[in-house]
Subunit: 244 residues, 2 copies
């Protein structure tokens, strides 16, 4: 087994264990967008399913929109992995209210709703998403900048309004590691060609994190750990507020 596969194996195992992501009898939907992240995740979840002492169900699901082509390639991959999968087709543009413009946030909310609906109708209790450490750090910075909050995407999120749990088993894996793995395995991303992507700020944040971590493997790990280590005594106004 290549070193990079072992590394992902270990980090995904650690996240599952540390955050208590999977329990006996879980029925898990792995959302695959066609990108390298979610496909790499699916590959490893399939492996864990075979090797874990506890039993869980796993199915891959892809929400098919008019914005992504090249699905044959993904189907070939899924078949070669013996992955149970389903494609759900939706017409994204048709769902848009008149006069509203398409954007990534809205589109991803639509897809998330579709996933939750499918999970509900088919008795799945967990949804595995392919967000990795870089996504989580990036969201932390974006939430600071646009929501005035110290908050981010959680490795495990229990919805308030749905009896479902979202898990992110790649939480401890860096994007760079996934790229290496995907490259080794010949996993190619199907990119979204909607043309509405204007996530330049996000890209800016990603580039900054890469620059900051440049050559120092531990930096992103430190930043990730920091998110579970708010020191209220050294955050302006927090202590004062807590005493109110």
């Amino acid at each position: 087994m290549p070193e990079i596969e072992k590394l992902l194996d270990r980090k995904i195992g650690r996240a599952i264990f540390q955050y208590g992501m999977i329990q006996e009898g879980d029925r898990i939907l792995a959302a695959v967008s066609g990108g390298k992240d979610s496909l790499s995740l699916l590959y490893h979840l399939l492996k864990k399913q075979r090797s874990f002492p506890i039993k869980f169900d796993l199915m891959a699901i892809h929400i098919k929109t008019e914005f992504r082509g090249g699905l044959d390639q993904m189907e070939t991959l899924l078949k070669s992995w013996d992955a149970p999968y389903e494609f759900i087709e939706i017409n994204m543009t048709g769902r848009l209210k008149p006069g509203r413009k398409m954007n990534c946030y809205w589109c991803s909310t639509q897809r998330r709703t579709e996933l939750l609906q499918y999970a509900k109708e088919n008795g799945y209790n967990k949804i595995a998403l392919g967000h990795h450490m870089d996504d989580i750090l990036e969201t932390f910075i974006m939430n600071m900048a646009y929501k005035s909050e110290l908050s981010t995407m959680l490795p495990v999120l229990q919805y308030d309004n749905y009896p479902h749990t979202v898990i992110r088993p790649l939480a401890l894996v860096k994007e760079e590691e996934i790229l290496k793995f995907a490259d080794k395995m010949g996993i190619r991303s199907i990119v979204c060609d909607c043309g509405f992507d204007v996530k330049s700020k996000r890209k800016n944040v990603r580039k900054f994190l890469d620059d900051l971590a440049d050559g120092e493997e531990f930096i992103k790990d430190n930043m990730y750990k920091a998110m579970s280590n708010p020191v209220s005594r050294y955050l302006p106004g927090v202590e004062a507020r807590q005493q109110e």
Copy 2:
């Protein structure tokens, strides 16, 4: 009064009020490095001293090392403002233990100790430092990256080991605003020419913050507010740890 002076006036006033920085009878040392930040702060504290309904003492102090020249220029400025001031001369290189290399962190610790010592001997209870919002945000990111902590420099810091309080009245002022003000007032920075400055990571962080905020005045304000708004429910592992 120029607009930019009014802006600093307002923001410094707000910080002093919001964080309860100054009380009747305080004896405050304003540390001036010779840079635009601390000189701009001194200018405004002198003004506040004249206009505030409460009385406080204020003296400027400069720790003079072998690394900064151009002090005449600063003295001229201090005199033109009628500022009481004192220069304390120390031989920084001479304090270095044999075999140790000079660095900014060590040098600033030495100067801080000297300030505290002077305050103690001369009955000052507060030390005003010229750190601004960008410094505080930068330190937040650096602490994430190198200390795995969500923490930063505080607007008001009560030392554990000294009966002194550090205040940072520029906490709500952006560097860009200080640059504009200093420019308007003809305040020129005396730069440190020690040659040991290797704060490239810090500069990297500063540049990123500027890029992120580019043209969007509210971004840094949002990030600053975020630091007093940790949402434990949306920070990985925090809730779990708090319940332990």
